[in-house]
Each structure stands twice: as C-alpha cells, then as structure tokens.
C-alpha cells in the first residue's frame, strides 16, 4: 500500500494546472461570467491535452489512464471553476464522434436538470419537455426537466466529487490568503482565533474529502463513491460559505470569486447522487454489513 500520488500522477496534475492557469485564469473566468457561452477554443485545447480521451484505451486513440488520473484532472477543473459539461463529454469519449478530441460538446440530463442544453452538439438521454430556467450559477445554463429522468453511472458521481474537492481546496486557499493579508484591529485577521478556526475546519473538511475521493477512485466501489460524493459535497459547500465569511463584505460582492464557487457547489450537490440518495446508499451498505 502506498496511498500517495505517483510521480506520473503529480506530473499529470501539474500539467493540467499549468494549462488551466494559462487558458483559464481569473480574467478568463470573469469574461466567461460576463459573456456566457462556451469557449470552443478552450474546449479544443482541453481535448488536445487529453482531458476527454484520458480513459479511452490507447488503441482507440485515447490516453489509456484510469479513474484516479481522471479524478486529478477533474479536481483541477473544479479548482479553476472551469465551466461546461465536462463530465458528460469525458464520459462520451469513444461513444460520441468528436467528444474525445474536444470537437463536440456533449451534455446529459440528471436529477431533473440538464446543463448547457443549447450549447451542446449532442445530448445523451431524454430531455423531452426541458424548460429553460434562470440558473443560480452564472456559469452553468440550466433547463428543468419534467421528471427526474436518467441516472448517470457511479463514475459520474465520482468525477463530480472530484470537482467539489478542487473547489473546496480553492476556497480554503483563498480564505487563508485573504486572512493573511487583510488587517483589522492592527493585525492580520488570520491571527484571530475565530478566523483561524474557520480556516482549520476548511482544511479538515477538504483533506477528509480528498482521502475519500482518491480512495474511491482507486477502488471504484459504488458505495465508496457515494460516500466520497457526500463528503466532497459537504466540503465544497461549507468551505465556500466559510470562505465567504472570511472575506467579509467583500465576499458578498459579485466581484469576489467566492459566490461562483458556492453556486457551482450547490449545483453539483443537487446532481449525480445528491445528498439523500447518497445517504440512503450508505445506509443500505450498513444493512448489508449487518
């Protein structure tokens, strides 16, 4: 047992982080918020970097890596708050023409919602009766479906959990940086225990979620994936809220990035194994163990 990232995994993570820093920095994020629409150029760049074809076998033109590597990529996507139906397209690689290369944008319904419907080239699943709603997340256009509809495979929940983990890590880092810099009462607010303890709890939530998400990626076990989703949802939502608190009034503004993380975290929590079914799955696993 060596439950740490291998050198290759570290390199993969560093590569995608670097790509996202270059192609999707805060300026690009703001532009995406203001402009709407999906950046097709960025989508292609992700495709070229192997983001969508990562788990396709090499014979099929893919990269031939596994779920643990995919989780690292999606964690970075979550950290950068990358918009778009990333997971649907990733899962469509090899099944939908152009998905693997980032030439096609693929979406799929789940939990009574479907994202990026108008932008998508291909929809996998039934979206009959979809009505547009004013999405709470400015970076994710949404349609409401008349019923719950299809449920995605467990990987879907896992990759969503990975995005949540990335988001939790990001809001924790943002809060810590702000707490070091912002001064009140003649000292950095991070010297106050009330603030310090908020930050410590953010790290704890994130690290526990990380252990759960990475382990679930290694085992691929559906119950463990459901547990990872529960913990990562909690980490993403709570860390974003605490980050907002640490930012004070500035956190309540449209300018701060925090609300974007919180809104996306809420959205991800609603979809692909939301809280109640995930808890029920855990309860069923307990029953099994009796």
């Amino acid at each position: 047992m060596d439950f740490q990232l291998t050198d290759d995994q570290r390199a993969l993570r560093a590569g995608i982080r670097e790509l996202l820093a270059r192609r999707f920095d805060s300026t690009a994020l703001r532009a995406a918020v203001d402009g709407g629409g999906l950046d097709r150029g960025l989508w292609r760049a992700l495709g070229e970097a192997g983001f969508f074809a990562l788990r396709l076998p090499e014979e099929a033109g893919g990269v031939g890596l596994g779920l643990p590597e995919a989780v690292l990529l999606f964690e970075e996507a979550g950290r950068a708050l990358l918009p778009g139906p990333l997971i649907a397209t990733h899962l469509a690689a090899g099944l939908v023409e152009g998905a693997a290369e980032g030439r096609a944008v693929v979406t799929a319904p789940d939990g009574g919602l479907v994202e990026w419907l108008e932008e998508a080239d291909v929809v996998r699943g039934d979206v009959a009766g979809a009505e547009p709603i004013r999405s709470a997340d400015p970076l994710t256009p949404l349609h409401r479906l008349p019923d719950g509809g299809d449920k995605g495979p467990p990987e879907w929940a896992l990759l969503t959990a990975a995005e949540q983990l990335g988001s939790a890590g990001r809001t924790t880092a943002m809060a810590v940086q702000h707490a070091r810099e912002r001064e009140q009462f003649g000292q950095p607010i991070g010297a106050f225990q009330a603030v310090k303890h908020l930050c410590a709890q953010m790290l704890v939530r994130t690290e526990v979620a990380r252990a759960a998400v990475y382990a679930a990626a290694v085992t691929g076990d559906p119950v463990e994936i459901a547990g990872a989703k529960l913990l990562a949802d909690e980490a993403a939502v709570r860390c974003a809220r605490d980050c907002l608190q640490v930012y004070g009034g500035m956190g309540f503004t449209w300018e701060a990035e925090v609300h974007l993380h919180l809104k996306r975290a809420w959205l991800r929590r609603e979809r692909w194994l939301p809280t109640v079914p995930a808890q029920e799955l855990q309860a069923a696993a307990l029953e099994e163990a009796m």
């Binding site: 047992m1 439950f3 740490q4 704890v204 990475y214 547990g227 029920e280 855990q282 163990a289």
Partner: protein, 377 residues
C-alpha cells in the same frame, strides 16, 4: 495511489486472523470497567499473549502498514483493545525507541511489549493543560539524581502504572520551552501520592499525582537536559497521529451494531435516523482512508507522523461523539440507562475533544503549522 497489500502483508493478515480465531474464545471474561487492577491484569495478559505469538512489536519498529492490518484484524475480531497499555505501547514506547539511548531501549521497551510494565503520562498540571509549556513541576539536580517536586493531573491509569513519562522543569530561568526535560519516573518511588479523580462517567480512570522530593536517577532522562520539549513533540505526534487509529475500526464495528439495534427496535424505518447512520458509515470509511493516506505519507518521509495527525484527531473526535449521539437516538429512553455499554461509551466520548490536546488547540496547530496563519498577540 495504491491501496492494495503485498502478498507478504496479506499472508500476515491471514496468519493473524487464524491465530485470533483460535485464541479469542479462550480469553477470560472482560473485567468490570470500574475494577482497575482487574483491567490491568486483563490488558497486560492480552499483551503477553501477543508477545508470545510474535505480534507485540507491531506498534513500533515494524512497518506502519503491518500495524494497520493488525488493527483492522484485531478490532474486526473483537480482540481486546490496548487499554492500560495505551501510553506504553502507543507513545512512551515509540518515543523511547526514537529518542532513547541503547541502554534505555533495552531497559524499557521489552517489558512494555511483554505486558510486564504499564506506563502513564505525567504531562498536564493543574495550571498547565493546553499551555503545557507553563508546567512548573521542578527537578533539581542532586548528584546523580533529580529531586522532583510538584503536581500532575488527569493522569490516566496512574493507579496501576509502573512508570510515568514525566515532564519537569530543569531550568527555571530559561525561556519556557527550553527548560523542560523528559524523565521516566518509577511509580513506586518514595514521595509519590496518587489521588484518584472521579470522571463524569463515574469511574476513576485518572488521578492527580503529588510529587514530594521524588528522586529520579539522571540516567532516566530521555533526550538531553532541557531538550525535553522537542522530545515531547515526538510523543505528542505519536499520541495525535497514530494512537487513536485502531479505534476507527472499532467505531465501524459499533456502527454496524447500532444499525442492528435500529433494525430490531424499528428506528431504522425513521429516515432521519437511518440517514444519520448512513452519514456515519461514509464518515468512518473516509477516516480510515485518511489514516492510510497519513501512514503512506509518513512512511515516505520516514518515521514520526506529521501534523496531518491533528487533522485526523479533529475530525475523529467529533465523529466519535456523533456516533454515540446517534446510538442514543436509536436507543431512545434506554440511552439514559447506565447499564448499557453505549451509555457509558457516550459519556467517555465526551473526553475526545479535550484529551491529547483540545479541538481548539488542534485547530490552532492546523491553522498555524499547516496553513501558515500568524500567531495571535
């Protein structure tokens, strides 16, 4: 990332499992929780069995992975917990192994492993708990001995211990962290009075120690004189980092038992209770994965567990309290019956956010040492 075990490790697991299946049915009945001499005898007897079977060394020196397997298997089989051997096996022992001289290791380690000697921890004082470096118990050099006077408090298992890992102030004029030494004190030395303290659970599992000119040979000092704070940090990193690890598996077992009870009395049909137990299932699974993460990390960096132990301890203490609160929700009125094991366990769990560094102190450690936030003025 690799969660699989090597064939040798799996073989170790299989052998251990087989051995447990043979010996556990022959164990004497568990002593009454209030009978301390009985508990000591039971716990050391178990340790002796482990020693004779070649498993005693698993807590230190062996690979941390083997230790995880050992904990998984012993807890799963319902084997006795370390109990009175907690301090000796889980932090005094590892500290002496890491910081002691060859002679000290030869003197103290074997008896702990054999279950011959029990240790306790004399760190906290009435006026120095969280602020441990404020400790005042004085040790004055007199020839080849230290003469120690002062008082220690909350000392678990003091009534039945042979040795005490004792922190003393050897240089009152030095800055507080620099004048401390780490000593091994024999509990039968003249001048020691042990006054049991009653816990909120009604037992006397800890005590106050009064030390009146107790003579301790200089050779009983582990680490250099006045360098005891550094040695203490080693002890505490074991205490926070690895000592509670086995209890996570135990909690998972209890959780299954709680689910069984919920089925029996119908509370399982209440979605609030059922989902609460479901959440705990996810929680303890994740905590075990976090342990594997921390262990892999410390194996890679070699040796002493890192500050990640504080992350674990914070979450675990809370989860354990949640576990017994959930048990109470399942038990209903029976949760007030002190005759029920879970009622006592629920009371004991209240100490988890206090002992071995309170949650507030752990949060300070995480914030300052991991996140790099400034110290308050």
């Amino acid at each position: 990332m690799d969660l699989s075990y090597t064939p040798e490790e799996e073989e170790f697991r299989a052998r251990l499992r087989e051995w447990l299946a043979v010996v556990l049915p022959g164990l004497p009945p568990k002593p009454d929780p209030l009978d301390w001499p009985g508990r000591r005898a039971y716990d050391t007897g178990w340790q002796r069995m482990l020693y004779d079977a070649g498993y005693a060394r698993v807590h230190w020196g062996a690979s941390a992975t083997l230790r995880l397997i050992f904990l998984e298997e012993t807890e799963r089989a319902g084997a006795p917990y370390v109990g009175a051997n907690f301090v000796g096996l889980l932090h005094a022992g590892p500290t002496i192994a890491a910081e002691g001289t060859e002679e000290q290791r030869a003197r103290w380690l074997e008896p702990v492993l054999r279950g011959d000697e029990v240790w306790c921890q004399g760190f906290s004082e009435p006026d120095a708990g969280s602020d441990l470096a404020a400790l005042r118990t004085r040790a004055v050099r007199d020839g080849d001995a230290y003469v120690v006077s002062g008082s220690k408090i909350w000392t678990s298992h003091a009534q039945v211990a042979d040795w005490c890992e004792l922190l003393v102030r050897t240089d009152p004029d030095a800055p507080r962290h620099r004048g401390i030494s780490w000593l091994a004190m024999p509990m039968d030395a003249p001048g020691i009075t042990v006054r049991p303290l009653r816990t909120l659970a009604g037992s006397d599992e800890f005590a106050q120690l009064f030390l009146d000119e107790v003579r301790i040979p200089v050779g009983h000092r582990v680490g250099a004189e006045n360098d005891g704070w550094r040695v203490t940090m080693v002890t505490l990193s074991y205490e926070r980092g690895t000592a509670f690890v086995g209890e996570v598996v135990a909690c998972r077992r209890v959780l299954v038992e709680i689910a069984r009870a919920a089925h029996k009395n119908g509370t399982w049909d209440d979605p609030v209770i059922r989902r609460r137990l479901g959440c705990l299932h996810a929680e303890f699974t994740a905590l075990w994965r976090l342990i594997q993460w921390n262990v892999s990390e410390s194996e890679r960096t070699g040796g002493v567990p890192g500050v990640g132990g504080s992350v674990f301890k914070l979450r675990y203490s809370h989860a354990r309290q949640e576990l017994y609160d959930a048990a109470a929700a399942v038990l209903g009125p029976d949760a007030l019956d002190l005759g029920r094991e879970w009622t006592l366990d629920r009371l004991s769990s209240l100490s988890y956010t206090i002992a071995a560094g309170t949650s507030q102190i752990q949060q300070n450690i995480v914030a300052e040492r991991i996140l790099g936030l400034p110290k308050g003025r």
